[in-house]
């Protein structure tokens, strides 16, 4: 039989003013299994805690009910106190007599009656408290970073600099993401390659970082500190241990195909590095276009390679490794505007290009060596229209959100164009200009001084006439229809989640918002954590951002990993679900309801009536369970219960309130 101690706190006069503490104590004394009841002026003070510790010894108490402030205030304090006694820290219930009683009711009789009820509930629940224990979860101090854009690289570098091994998985042949495709970056206009490629080189040569290019995460299981990850590295057809990246093969390869790095504006070979400073700095063979691999005839690269590094029989490599933490940095892609904006030509006009294509056009290492020319005829465009919010803030065609970087890179594009074509005319159609950020608004103002003409309104139609692109729109400030004849149109298109975001999100247990961006655990207070412990977000995979914000978030995610890795072991939550083998019928309702994928079905062999039987039962992973209890309600046989909030305990509280 339990021996409950009840302590009712005055909290100075905070509780005592509207609750008759003495009467509550008297009633408490009469409750079943209460061996001791007393009041205390300030229970949370050192003296108050000491008094409880003494009462525990003197009255041989094995559990405690405290009527005081909210458990959200001092539950941990009192658990800590109990951990210094012989009583398990979870043999504790708190009745909220302050925030939810004395502070909200003025009538003392009513307040006292309610306080008594709350104490009764707590006593009834406490009577069924069980000692609970946390488990130690070992932490594997190795991090996995998925995605090698600027965010992924920054996170990998920070974690590696903190001294922990990192594997960086990038699905493309090279690191760099979108940033390395850009020409210059706002607002400082430093050359993107000049600040991005050194980072790539740092990542490639860091002793703590292993880069897996052309690779993807295929499977993930486990939990914080212990993720089992299967990674598939696609065949490169080149032995990287031999290849020096001399590039001879690439110059001799007879096959040309559009380069995705150049956004289709340039060509590359079938054996290729996507760009000169690629990391890893070695080529791969594009099996889809290679003559040798498709027809069996050719083999030029093998013949010219001075090191014999070509391997036409190369296959995918699948490895399985354990990581303690994962940073997801898979970035964004641009909305497929062609399929949704028929009124802009739907991609039929060669001179209606995307912002990213423009970046390649103005880039000195791009297909035109930085000359701004029309893709259709190679002529310099004398008038350019820039259209912002293509797919952004347009719930009918595209997405309802703002893509955040386009106002700035739209201004950048106007500036770059006017810089290269000083006698050109540049028109920018906009809905609003949003330029919060250090030096951002000044940058936009300068673009207007450069001569860019800003027109407030959407472009409703673009069509071709006499070799010109006619852009029709409305100037909502003057209320007039405007028609601009352009030689080239640049569409600043919406950022949308990476292709893989949905698959990866569901594999990792990260929720996706309505637009499929990966969701942080809390929009304000936990911006880089996810709802899965040990998994963090960096960069644009969480939502549209520019480079400074991506980098800041990446370093924050890295810090979270470093904090996690500062521990050798983690303490698991004690108040978790557990399943009673005898009652579980293996229906799996709990498995599908668990938001953390913490429950699995397992086969067990039992002896029942001296016969061996094999049954399916559910099993809770204590590292993953967060203790929400959704599974307990879904469980029809009543096998699943939640420690600390068990069915019996809650029912007893209900009973205590309704009839003793």
């Amino acid at each position: 039989m339990s021996r409950i101690g009840v302590i009712v706190c005055h909290c100075g006069s905070n509780i005592a003013a509207t609750v008759d503490v003495e009467q509550v104590v008297q009633v408490a004394k009469t409750l079943p299994h209460v061996a001791y009841a007393a009041d205390n002026k300030y229970t949370c003070s050192d003296q108050g805690q000491q008094a409880i510790k003494e009462a525990i010894v003197e009255h041989r108490l094995d559990r405690i009910v405290i009527g005081s402030c909210s458990p959200r205030m001092h539950e941990l304090t009192f658990r800590k106190m109990l951990s210094q006694t012989d009583i398990n820290p979870y043999m504790l219930e708190i009745a909220n007599l302050r925030e939810q009683c004395s502070w909200v009711h003025k009538n003392k009789a009513e307040g006292t009656a309610k306080a008594i009820d709350l104490i009764k509930m707590a006593v009834a629940k406490c009577d069924r408290d069980q000692p609970l224990f946390t488990m130690s979860i070992p932490v594997n101090k190795r991090a996995l970073v998925i995605g090698g854009g600027i965010a992924g690289m920054q996170a990998a570098l920070d974690i590696a600099d903190a001294g922990y091994p990192v594997t960086l998985v990038e699905k493309e042949p090279s690191l760099g993401g979108k940033m390395v495709m850009l020409d210059k970056t706002f607002p400082t206009m430093d050359c993107s390659a000049c600040i991005c490629t050194p980072k790539m080189a740092d990542v490639g040569s860091h002793p703590n970082i292993t880069v897996k290019s052309l690779a993807e995460v295929e499977q993930i299981s486990g939990y914080v500190g212990n993720f089992e990850v299967t990674i598939r590295e696609r065949a490169k057809y080149i032995d990287y241990s031999l290849c020096t990246g001399c590039g001879l093969c690439e110059t001799k390869c007879p096959t040309k195909t559009p380069s995705s790095f150049e956004q289709g504006l340039g060509l590359r070979k079938a054996i290729y590095k996507p760009f000169a400073q690629a990391v890893p700095g070695k080529p791969t063979i594009d099996a889809e276009h290679c003559r040798k691999l498709t027809t069996g005839k050719c083999g030029v690269c093998e013949k010219v390679c001075p090191l014999g590094a070509i391997r036409y029989d190369d296959t995918d490599k699948v490895t399985a490794e354990t990581y303690g933490a994962i940073v997801v940095a898979i970035g964004y892609q641009l909305i497929d505007w062609g399929s949704i904006y028929g009124e802009y030509g739907g991609g039929r006009y060669a001179d209606v290009i995307s912002g990213l294509q423009f970046e390649r056009l103005v880039n000195a290492s791009g297909p035109t060596e930085g000359h701004v020319v029309r893709p259709s005829d190679g002529q310099e465009p004398k008038s350019v229209v820039i259209v912002k919010c293509v797919g952004s803030r347009d719930p009918e065609h595209g997405r309802s959100y703002c893509s955040r970087a386009c106002c700035m890179y739209g201004a950048k594009h106007a500036h770059q164009y006017l810089d290269k074509v000083p006698d050109g005319r540049c028109y920018v159609f906009y809905m609003d200009v949003r330029t919060p950020g250090k030096g951002y608004d000044e940058f936009y103002m300068n673009t207007q001084h450069d001569g860019a003409l800003y027109l407030r309104g959407r472009v409703s139609k673009i069509y071709q006439q006499n070799g010109k692109l006619i852009c029709q729109g409305e100037d909502t400030l003057s209320g007039q229809q405007v028609t601009v004849e352009a030689d080239m149109v640049v569409l600043e298109t919406a950022m949308v989640p990476a292709n893989d975001a949905d698959r990866l999100g569901s594999m990792l247990g990260i929720t996706r918002d309505k637009d499929l961006w990966l969701s942080e655990a809390h929009p304000k207070l936990r911006p880089v954590e996810t709802n899965s412990a040990g998994i963090y977000l960096a960069g644009t995979c969480q939502g549209p951002k520019d480079i400074p914000d991506s980098v800041a978030q990446a370093s924050a995610a890295a810090m979270k990993v470093a904090v996690l890795f500062a521990h050798d072991e983690l303490e698991s939550n004690a108040m978790i679900a557990s399943s009673d083998v005898a009652l579980c019928n293996g229906c799996g309702a709990c498995v599908s309801i668990c938001p953390y994928s913490a429950i699995t079905l397992e086969e067990i062999t039992l002896r029942e009536n001296s016969k061996k039987v094999t049954r399916r039962i559910s099993k809770v992973n204590p590292g993953l369970c967060q203790g929400c209890g959704a599974c307990t309600v879904a469980c029809r046989p009543g096998a699943m219960d939640l420690r600390g909030f068990s069915d019996e305990q809650i029912m007893r509280e209900v009973d205590a309130l309704c009839q003793w």
Binding site: A113, D117, C628
Partner: protein, 181 residues
């Protein structure tokens, strides 16, 4: 819950009836509110911090998540003495446990229909979303629920007996999963 100071020691608060006509005048309903730890319970704490007054005949029962609330608890409470039950959790999309309140909503809405089918007035069982910052909404909600249930009067013995019917308990169990099957 007309509890006088002398009988509180012996009688569970909600078991006290309102049988005499005089008692009917001053009759106060007994309301049990299940509140999720992360949102509504902290909203109620904030109401306390702001000294917002509300009727004293509401008792909060803390659960980790509204998804933890088994319809059986509600049946039991109404069957044994509560005149009204309120379940509160985080707003849709804000659940601390990702999706618990969605499950709660699904299963409790199905369950509410079942209760109404047995003849229980809709006002006696309510589900509301109240965040940790909505102290005012908490106060207003519990005040309104108290008024509504007060207007309905005490649950009759017949109603309570109907709620104790094992067939109903079985039917309630089928609403538990909270998933479209």
């Amino acid at each position: 819950m007309s509890v006088v100071e002398t009988n509180v020691a012996t009688t569970g608060a909600m078991a006290t009836g309102a049988n005499s006509p005089a008692a009917a005048e001053s009759w106060q309903p007994s309301i049990l509110a299940f509140a999720c730890h992360w949102c509504t319970y902290s909203g109620a704490d904030l109401a306390g911090l702001n000294r917002m007054e509300y009727p004293a005949n509401v008792r909060l029962l803390r659960v980790p998540c509204s998804g933890r609330v088994n319809p059986q608890y509600v049946l039991s409470a109404l069957g044994k003495g509560a005149d009204g039950v309120l379940v509160c959790g985080c707003h849709p999309g804000d659940c601390h446990y990702v999706s618990g309140n969605y499950y709660a909503k699904r299963r409790l809405m199905a369950f509410k229909r079942l209760l109404e089918f047995t003849g229980l007035e809709p006002g006696r069982f309510q589900v509301r979303w109240i965040s940790g910052s909505e102290a005012g909404k908490f106060r207003d909600t519990v005040t309104r629920v108290c008024e509504e249930v007060r207007a309905l009067g005490p649950l009759t013995t017949d109603q309570r007996q109907a709620l104790a019917d094992p067939v109903l308990a079985g039917a309630a169990a089928t609403t538990q999963a909270g998933e479209a099957q």
